[in-house]
Subunit: 184 residues, 3 copies
Amino acid sequence: MSDSARPAIDPAVRAYIDERLAALTRDLPDNRVTLVVFSGDLDRHLASLVIATGAAAMGLEVSVFYTFWGLAALKKQSVLSGKSLKEKMFVAMTPATLSKMPLSKMNFGGMGRAMLRTMMKEKEIASIEELFAMARDLGVKQIACTMSMDVMGITKDELIDGVVLGGVATFLGDAARSRAAFFI
Amino acid sequence: MSDSARPAIDPAVRAYIDERLAALTRDLPDNRVTLVVFSGDLDRHLASLVIATGAAAMGLEVSVFYTFWGLAALKKQSVLSGKSLKEKMFVAMTPATLSKMPLSKMNFGGMGRAMLRTMMKEKEIASIEELFAMARDLGVKQIACTMSMDVMGITKDELIDGVVLGGVATFLGDAARSRAAFFI
Amino acid sequence: MSDSARPAIDPAVRAYIDERLAALTRDLPDNRVTLVVFSGDLDRHLASLVIATGAAAMGLEVSVFYTFWGLAALKKQSVLSGKSLKEKMFVAMTPATLSKMPLSKMNFGGMGRAMLRTMMKEKEIASIEELFAMARDLGVKQIACTMSMDVMGITKDELIDGVVLGGVATFLGDAARSRAAFFI
């Protein structure tokens, strides 16, 4: 029913209703999904990307907050110059990029990972790099956790383009307005 | 206050209020909890079943979406015939069924798992198989991730009866209407 | 607009609106975040404490439910007397307290953990013990899972002061009224 076709309502009554409803609507979640990707495992990143691209394709706003081991997904490549000895050791101990992540289970020195990749290819399922690119195309917001960057000595230059920097307040701001939020 | 006992309100006013409220109510979450079980660890499946049965017992609708390593919980038994070599290797590398899953930590070749089972029995806590059966009795919806089935070459015949098949859209549809959703 | 300044509205209309809105408001989430910490890994506990303190600092109510391996964060120290042989073995197999937890990855027998601690100190980021104390100061509710205590034979005396005991219903009650809930 359009407003003009509606029978006359006392403007004071309508104003009261609208005001009360506006207050309530502010407390409703947005059409939004928020993920925090803590893990550095290929399979968990795969799951996060399937959820993120799926949600974006369904018209939901999606924020993915990459923290701790998960941050590797946003790295261009490992950089050693300008880093302290401890930071260099941390670089050596952690996966360089998304493509080099191990599986959480049955990795067998990369054999499980290679097998999974081949099987996905044979079934014509998008590879993890394709899913990552698809997420960006669909407007998924990718946020690098500044505290993790700080601890590990990673600078903005080491991250791929288009990444937003943010702290826990950024993440919680998005999560608290979401229909669903996941820690992966 | 019943509707008949209520003092007269202009029908146009009441219609306006009801219409506005109906739109808002559609945006509220259902009395629903959604879990995605990605893990293939016995202890994490145990946690998911305690949450699922607890929520169902409290009168909440519950959907559990089994994906990746988690899918093993829905398998009758490992099937090798009709599978490609890679699919067979994947079968060999992953836990056959719920009962054969390892612990995420301190598994010690099954000793931790056996100890946990005995301790639960001594304390008269339901076993994982009992919790799984209880979840089904309480009407928990169990969904097998079709993309995971596809990647791993698992067919519907290999799954226990009563399982629903679904993709990421099914999962997100339930999650977005839930009071709480967890990635386990 | 204050109620006195508002133009007159039929009291019956106002009562109808208020009653309908009150019912709807009861279904909205509280300003609340709920975490369930299942993991016994230092890095995951670190993430949970950053989220918990961040949310509390933003004015959200926070409940953290410690279950299974996560329960170690609430233990004063390992106690052996009065325990059955199996319970003693479980104590020996699990981390004693928060400070003794390993990293989920790259722990290298404690070297990764020590390195992470030093790097956090150098960057003047609060240590995990400081974050834990901060969470308590900010009023984060810490709940020990009674079922886990029961399985592992842990008594209330073994837990630090100020911890609330609760089961899955307590946890789900909080989670279902939360803006965001995470399984960590």
